[in-house]
Symmetry: C2
Subunit: 719 residues, 2 copies
């Protein structure tokens, strides 16, 4: 009897193993976003747009209203691409090829903003006619469209133009060049800046950035795609060196005049977070001196450019980092919301344009991760915070009156929501460690949630690893750090496995969250399949944990970060199935810095490392980011010397491969080349690889090539 | 008895092994010229200079006459550095620090030309006084000194100057720049060109090159040694692209006037092998059109620049390649010697300035490798040829009257000799497979040879490999190819060893000669010590074997060369101790091209390759060299396409590491970067490494680093 039971158990075990073995193994073409099979495996997203508060489901061929503004299920085909094309003057404006990006500018009108291959088209589906269309200029470097005025601002050949709704082109600049840019993003996208064109609410005026970088040293990048390589220089101000000068212009197509804000001397000054007042009479800018220890919210007269008032000043001995423009209450144009980390965490503050003490709307040892907008009916703001757990991101309505926060979503996992134009609903896309993805329609007023689409795992046919999350203590002995642990596929606790630490470690990023598989990167599944343990922990210095957590690294990047990562190594070593003699490390960008640093600082701990696009010495990094965390090399020589990897090149013992994009404009070639030179001089032997034509991050098919390369390196030397 | 004998034999074997084991193993610091122990191991060279026909032994401290002009042994201290410094005005001209480079301009005078740290000094050791001195300009880009006139021509900040014996500086140009060069070598050092300044025999006039390369595309090399990398562009005309324009000027300091030769349009024309007539009235230039299928020896009036006559025209459907200026007979200024391969081998021809058929002085299926000069007493020319064997290089006197060649040296090995000013003697430095090095004083008239210095092997204390030479048949089944075979140290014929083919394979070079160890490169000894067989064979296309042998590769570089190398592989495979599954290949420059080509063309033969500074596609190579062997891409599209390695990138299976100098001005970065891009696009995985600051060949300490790297790659993947 007993024997028989054992026999059954063995049979069961054998069957389980057999089943596991019938499942597929991953290829990098399955896993990487540039892979040939990646998109076949990905469930289609729930594509939709709000028409006021009503939800419209968008497909290639049709736009169907699926929920009413009240949340009642409907199924009304509003229009199809065929019906639009029937009434389009296709010879002039081209054809509509898909409706996936349709927009609905006016809640009260049956109008959709659509794209043909050549034009923007406003289509009235009730009247079945084209209300308006505008040809799109080609080869633009940047553009911004105002749905309110239907004006299009665009940059072409470095000069700035405004095409008004009637098709008239206004030329706003004539001296634009790579070194004198109009309408482009400035300050290397720091301070939350990601564009250079800002329409007023009515779309009748355009604020824009102008950046003079003629005084900035060019870094000589080269483009080898030509018959003989050509210079493709990047104006790159390195820490402590001369920076660019930015100003803000306002153009009025009615008068055809541009006014520039009469700011303080733009030398070594940053202009961020541009916002219009609802009445369009005022332009708000947050300004910082190069030292970044002060931020001022300054109001300028939009008609004259005169400086009117400083509404708010924030200082911090380390740094201030305003990331978000102010936003006015839709129902009260005298009050606006500003985000600040002045109490140590990112929170919302309600200000009055007339001055007076701001009112703190959110408070606590957590961060407001996103500000989505308003529900005007309930007089609340909709935000995403991580108050439930640092790695859990949920949406809340915050009553302006009571400051009470109401959880809107299901309270699990991590969520990404888009608010309706009316503010009553959101489409919430979320995942959790055990849930691949779900789209919900979520009310911002009542606790009401409707499932729109549930996506099962795309890896059902594959042999997947076990992924778990947890916390360890930071090197300070107190702070919780969140980790993800990926076990080898077909895990056998009796075996000893090599382990690879994946690391980023810098500000403005995290790697572990309560998303599907704790946000495991697909490559980790590939490594698990190859028989590796993969471990990821977000050290101090990373995001969403408050200012103290982030700025523990101030003036000496790398030190605290590595101490925390070594706590992760201690944890790994404590696992009976990890072979402590076979530890590897891999990271990109800041993670490339961390990888190289760990390989050179702990040469007896890590046997193999792959560092992508690494910073090697912060004096080669740019002014805005670099000086925020490190001050200038002149002010902080010890910090720069101590955090440089050039003197550590001599310590390299293990196998370290550095991989870069030849055309990286972010971590310029100087970093890796200086490190190679230092290793050559010291007699150490790193490995190196380059992707010509790629920038700071690899794109497309090269992602497959890259990860084949990274994997091969660990297979060669860590297996 | 029998048993006892066997016992003794075993004991003897054990002792031999024990002895072998007590010998040292090589480090790369011992072997490589940039290594810290290299010079300690090298026996000192026999440093000497001729004073007329007398031999003076030079040391740091003294100049001793050791042989008379008649070859009688003497030992007379002519002077010491101390005695020179006693009479030097050291405050003005500095001190003499060593006498190793002393010269004796006039056989009849007791004068030595010496260098201080600041000046050239002419010292009369009999009178014990300084006869003349001249300060040397600093930071010069090129310079040429005339012992006859004691004038110094030099280039500084791209402009050309002439400093006459009295110290007067003449400025010959004012518009010199990187793009408009005066007095520098031109045509990328092809056609035997290695300098741009040519004094007339009396030193009273100066001919010089002027090169306008403003129309040439710059290749954007970068210098990363700066704080932020700087552009260091190289005007680089790629095959088929616009080339530079060269002209030849003649400056007369007496009139302070420059005359330019009135040549044909210098567009797409090459000016080489500049020579003065003895009376200085004529300047001879050999000129080629860009097609390189014709060479004309043209005489110009040195005073007016007018073209006087075409003395000789040579054509060849493939190419002509004049490498040497004409040389006049010292005793007859109406006759000169010209070297030509017009009969298929490089030979000497005696011409008259008055025209008429030239007289062929040497003839046969061998090459004149060097022309050393004349013995005026015997009316003979002194040459080096390889008539005894393609890989044996000996010196001969050729009687102008009888054309009889008389062997001068010992007829073994390979020889490098320097002729005395009087022409009666040579100092001959030679080696042979079993002889490290010997210096002899050799008569150019009688068969007389005096041993000056015999240097034993510098590796006596080391465990060295067995090196042998031999021949195999080329892929044509007929031609003998010469090889070198290096067996592993402590060779065991019963074992199977991995084997590495070292290859160059291009024109103007050979790798096997009857020198010490058949000219083994030190790294081969290192590899032998690591347990590799190393094999080197000079394929068709390489030098010293005549025009047909070299030009078999015409218009399709790589094909015939690889066919011959594969014959070498057949030979290797036939050796019982070579493991045919572990074949590697390594080469630099043309050898890097061959290595990459072999790896991609025979992916199942070669497992591992290391390609240094490779050509990848001949369309990226320069005009002069590239078009000689390949014509232009426009004329020979099939040849360029077929010899390009870009389409072969997809075939790569084994491990191939490409290594380049970041600042390589010869094989510019375009080659390796385009290959990486092609591999990335094709999904193959080469490895890559860069030496920032290095050019086409690694210099100094990096040679140790490089060879550690190359060795490690074979150890990683071929062992």
């Amino acid at each position: 009897m007993k024997l028989r039971f054992l026999g059954s158990l063995l049979l069961l075990l054998a069957m389980t193993t057999a089943m596991a073995q019938t499942k597929k193994s991953f290829t990098l073409d399955d896993l990487m976003s540039g892979g040939s099979n990646f998109w076949n495996l990905q469930p289609k997203r729930y594509q939709s747009a709000f028409w006021g508060d009503a939800l419209v489901r968008l497909s290639v061929d049709s736009a169907r209203q699926v929920y009413s503004a009240k949340g009642a299920s409907t199924d009304v085909v509003l229009f199809t691409s065929a019906s639009v094309n029937e009434v389009l003057d296709t010879a002039v404006v081209g054809k509509v090829y898909n409706l996936l990006y349709a927009g609905f500018p006016e809640p009260g009108r049956t109008e959709a903003l659509l794209f043909t291959n050549k034009a923007r088209v406003l289509y009235d589906w009730k009247a079945r006619k084209v209300v308006w269309s505008q040809l799109m200029p080609v080869s633009v470097q940047a553009s911004e469209f105002s749905t309110a005025s239907r004006s299009l601002a665009y940059v072409k050949d470095w000069d700035l133009y405004l095409r008004t709704a009637d098709g008239t082109d206004h030329r706003l600049s004539t001296d634009g060049s790579r070194q004198l840019q109009y309408g482009m993003s400035v300050h290397r996208d720091e301070f939350g800046i990601h564009k250079g064109l800002f329409f007023s609410p009515s779309g009748q005026r355009l604020a824009f950035y102008r950046m003079d970088q003629s005084m900035v040293t060019d870094f000589p990048l080269i483009d080898i795609s030509k018959r003989s390589a050509e210079l493709a220089p990047e104006a790159y101000p390195m820490a402590g060196m001369t920076s660019h000068k930015v100003s803000v212009g306002i153009y009025d197509p009615a008068t055809r005049r541009t006014v520039y804000l009469k700011t303080a001397d733009p030398t070594d000054r940053y202009f961020t977070n541009i916002a219009w007042s609802p009445d369009e009479k005022t332009l708000y800018v947050i300004e910082l001196p190069r030292t970044q220890d002060k931020a001022e919210l300054i109001a300028y007269d939009a008609a004259t450019g005169e400086r009117k008032a400083v509404l708010y000043t924030e200082t911090n001995a380390k740094y201030v980092e305003p990331m978000n423009p102010i936003v006015f209450l839709p129902w009260d144009s005298s009050r606006f919301i500003l985000q600040s980390r002045r109490d140590g965490y990112n929170h919302l503050y309600l200000f009055s344009v007339d001055g007076g003490e701001p009112e703190q709307l959110t408070e606590g040892k957590f961060e407001v991760i996103a500000f989505l907008g308003f529900n005007a009916a309930t007089k609340s703001v909709i935000v995403k915070t991580n108050e439930a757990s640092p790695i859990r991101h949920n949406h809340y309505a915050v009553s302006l009156k009571t400051k009470k926060r109401t959880l809107l979503d299901n309270g699990r996992g991590t969520h990404y929501a888009r608010l309706s134009t009316g503010g009553a609903w959101m489409v919430d896309c979320w995942s959790a460690p055990d849930t691949f993805r779900e789209f919900d329609l979520v009310s911002t007023a009542a606790r009401k949630s409707i499932v729109l689409q549930q996506d099962g795992t795309p890896w059902a046919d594959y042999n997947v690893p076990e992924v778990s999350g947890g916390t360890i203590k930071a090197a300070d002995g107190q702070t919780d750090l969140y980790y993800r642990l990926v076990k080898p596929v077909d895990f056998d606790p009796a075996r000893k496995y090599p382990a690879v630490v994946y690391v980023y470690g810098g500000p403005h990023a995290h790697n572990v969250e309560e998303a599907w598989n704790y946000w495991m990167r697909p490559w980790e599944a590939y490594m698990a399949q190859k028989g590796y343990v993969v471990f990821v922990v977000d050290n101090r210095g990373s995001e969403y944990r408050g200012f103290d957590f982030e700025s523990a690294t101030f003036r000496h990047l790398g030190d605290v970060e590595m101490q925390d990562q070594m706590k992760g190594v201690d944890f790994l070593r404590s696992l009976p199935y990890v072979d402590a003699d076979r530890l590897g490390v891999h990271g990109w960008s800041f993670g490339g810095y961390m990888t190289t640093n760990l390989m050179c600082s702990y040469p007896d701990v890590f046997k193999v490392g792959v560092a992508g696009g690494p910073v090697i010495d912060w004096k080669y990094y740019e002014v805005m980011y670099g000086e925020r965390y490190m001050d200038t090399p002149q002010e902080n020589p010890e910090g720069y010397a101590g955090s440089s990897l050039l003197p550590k090149a001599k310590n390299l013992k293990g196998r370290l491969q550095i991989i870069v994009g030849l055309n990286d404009p972010t971590c310029v070639l100087q970093h890796s080349m200086a490190f190679l030179r230092a290793c050559e001089d010291a007699g150490t032997q790193p490995d190196y690889f380059v992707y010509p034509g790629q920038g700071h991050n690899m794109m497309g098919k090269d992602m497959v090539h890259l990860h084949e390369r990274i994997t091969r390196y660990f297979e060669d030397y860590l297996k």
